[in-house]
């Protein structure tokens, strides 16, 4: 187990290094000069060259990259070009918002997706199955931002009610804090719920036709035991894999949902940073997301061993 984790981390290293290179190069290709922008909007320096030197952007790009990686190794993500605040601190301030949103969205995806997938498979071609499958297709087809607009718009037209758009932080009590995440999290989680429901149903249908399930029935076991204990355990592994992949989807989707619902998380920070060409911020956020995703993949693999005793590392 330990050696497996170590080996996986070693394999992840080159991928992370390539990712860091992509993360570093992409924002620097943005046409238009951050220095020009900054000089126009805020008189930071005497002239372009002076400001460029102050920001360290006059050095060759490979030198900047090596410097960035070296500081990264010491846990320093640099500072924002605009606010001069350390990126790490800014990220730490916004992380909780995105993490809460993402976590709730995953809960929504699992709580809706898995049970409905099970019911749908057990009563294949029944009314619920038909309804759930159609709903899942709709959930996959209607983009999150459209769902969000509908959810905001319809109550406004019918009852003159609009969800509050401001953001209250944790200091105002956990209930108000969590309540503002409910709608965004449901919308963010719906598409993943649909994908997970379809997969759970499909895998379970396959398992339910296995010989050992027939044996379980023949032993006179109750339906609940046959389905949940004998079948589900063998159907759930691909579902866990896809759940891991959905985390990347959710991270991307949070950019849009945060901007619609005015949640000050990392997604909104990223959009801001891209329009302002704030290189260190863009790099920091992207790198953080990559690390989160690589870590989730590892956790997913370790989780297999917990569900399936045949898997040993």
């Amino acid at each position: 187990m330990q050696s497996y984790v170590l080996r996986r981390l070693l394999i992840a290293l080159p991928s992370l290094l390539i990712a860091s290179l992509i993360v570093f190069t992409l924002p620097r290709l943005i046409p238009g000069d951050v220095v020009q922008l900054m000089l126009e909007e805020k008189a930071y320096g005497k002239d372009l060259d002076d400001l460029r030197a102050k920001l360290g952007l006059d050095r060759p790009i490979p030198v900047q990259y090596v410097d960035w990686v070296a500081r990264l190794a010491r846990g320093d993500l640099g500072e924002s070009l605009w606010t001069r605040q350390p990126v790490l601190g800014e990220l730490a301030r916004r992380m909780p918002v995105t993490l809460t949103l993402g976590f709730l969205a995953i809960v929504v995806a699992v709580v809706i997706g898995v049970p409905i997938g099970i019911l749908s498979a057990v009563r294949q071609d029944g009314a619920l199955d038909f309804f759930a499958r159609s709903a899942a297709i709709l959930g996959l087809s209607i983009p999150g931002f459209v769902q969000a607009i509908v959810v905001i718009l319809l109550p406004a037209i019918w009852w003159g009610w609009t969800p509050r758009m401001g953001f209250t932080d944790l200091a105002h009590g956990p209930a108000t804090y969590l309540l503002q995440f409910v709608l965004p999290a449901i919308i963010l989680g719906i598409a993943s719920a649909a994908a997970i429901m379809r997969l759970t149903r499909g895998m379970l249908l396959e398992v339910l036709r296995q010989d050992y399930v027939r044996t379980a029935w023949a032993k006179g076991l109750r339906e609940r035991v046959v389905v949940l204990k004998h079948s589900l355990k063998n159907a759930i592994i691909p579902v866990v894999t896809v759940l891991g992949l959905q985390i990347a989807q959710i991270a991307g989707g949070s950019v849009i949902i945060e901007s619609i619902f005015g949640l000050p998380g990392m997604g909104q920070f990223l959009l801001e940073a891209i329009t302002q060409r704030d290189y260190p911020v863009i790099q920091g956020i992207n790198l953080l997301i990559v690390v989160i995703i690589v870590a989730t993949n590892l956790l997913v693999d370790l989780f297999y061993a917990m569900i399936d005793p045949r898997i040993r590392y």
Partner: protein, 307 residues
């Protein structure tokens, strides 16, 4: 089968003599077996017709401001109402189909080409090349799709061509994995070995023996990819990284003015939403059905998620 007499049923014979009838018959059978897929196909065809003949179908140009017709509710003159600048929404939705269709098909074509090149070469050449390429694909795939496209578009600048480039590079990574897998399994087959033994060169083996056998995989990947790409395009336009105005894209119509006026003129937000959802729904349904029909292993809704 040599020697056995084959009795050809009359309608089949007729169909065979008239290729057009044969196509109709195929379409009919597809519709009977996959009704949802047929609905998807109808939506997709409608979308393509709208895109191709936008200038004939739309009563106004996408950028025509009708004087004195700001934010009018849907009526006989303006089927879907008008928006805050007095432009006819139905006309803009029709022209918007052009963007979705262009971006969808161009992206999928480019992505498929890239993915096939990467996937086949990676599997065929193997060795250090394979390992290097796969690590790059790994890194590429560990980014959330939207984040990487946003960063790329920020780098390339907004515009139709850049949108297509960014989306296809993204789509290619995942697809190349699948094609690599299919190629690897094809290369194990005896006929590839036989071709090699007969002295066929690399190009001949790839073009004549490997490619035809991964075609089904490629077709399935691209039909399913179309819905995803259209969804991605509208999300990006919604965030303001799509095709710049005044040209209407559905996602763009929903952002900015669509959202700020939606309480006074709900139809401004409603119709683009309907258009996006219908289009994605159509491609998803068609892709699902085609996958079931083309790939017997997946028959019966095994349910790999579209994303």
């Amino acid at each position: 089968m040599a020697g056995s007499v084959q009795i050809i049923p009359a309608p089949e014979a007729l169909a065979r003599s008239h290729p057009r009838l044969r196509a109709l018959g195929l379409a009919w059978r597809f519709g009977r077996r996959k009704p949802l897929g047929a609905i998807g196909a109808v939506i997709v065809v409608g979308l393509i017709v709208m895109a191709a003949f936008a200038d004939r179908i739309a009563p106004y140009s996408f950028d025509d401001s009708v004087p004195g017709a700001r934010m009018k509710a849907p009526s006989l003159q303006f089927w879907m109402g008008t928006e805050n600048l007095g432009r006819d929404i139905w006309s803009r939705v029709v022209y918007g189909a052009r963007i979705s269709v262009t971006v969808g098909f161009a992206t999928v074509a480019l992505a498929t080409l890239l993915a096939t090149a990467i996937g086949v070469s990676s599997a065929y050449l193997g060795g250090a090349y394979d390992i290097t390429v796969q690590r790059i694909v790994d890194a590429w795939m560990s980014f959330p799709a939207l984040v990487i496209v946003l960063s790329m578009l920020a780098a390339l600048g907004p515009g139709l061509l850049n949108l297509i480039l960014a989306l296809s590079v993204l789509g290619a990574a995942g697809a190349s994995r699948v094609i690599r897998g299919a190629t690897l399994s094809t290369m194990q087959s005896p006929y590839v070995e036989a071709a090699r033994a007969l002295g066929a060169g690399h190009v001949r083996v790839i073009v004549r023996h490997v490619l035809p056998n991964v075609t089904a995989t490629i077709i399935i990947l691209s039909t399913i990819g179309l819905g995803t790409v259209i969804l991605a395009e509208s999300s990006l336009s919604f965030l303001g990284f799509g095709v710049p105005p005044p040209y209407p894209s559905w996602g763009g119509m929903l952002s900015g003015s669509g959202r700020s006026f939606m309480y006074h003129a709900p139809w401004m937000a409603l119709w683009p939403s309907v258009a996006i959802s219908l289009a994605v729904f159509g491609f998803n349904m068609l892709g699902d059905a085609l996958r079931d029909v083309l790939d017997p292993r997946l028959r019966g809704g095994g349910g790999r998620p579209v994303s």
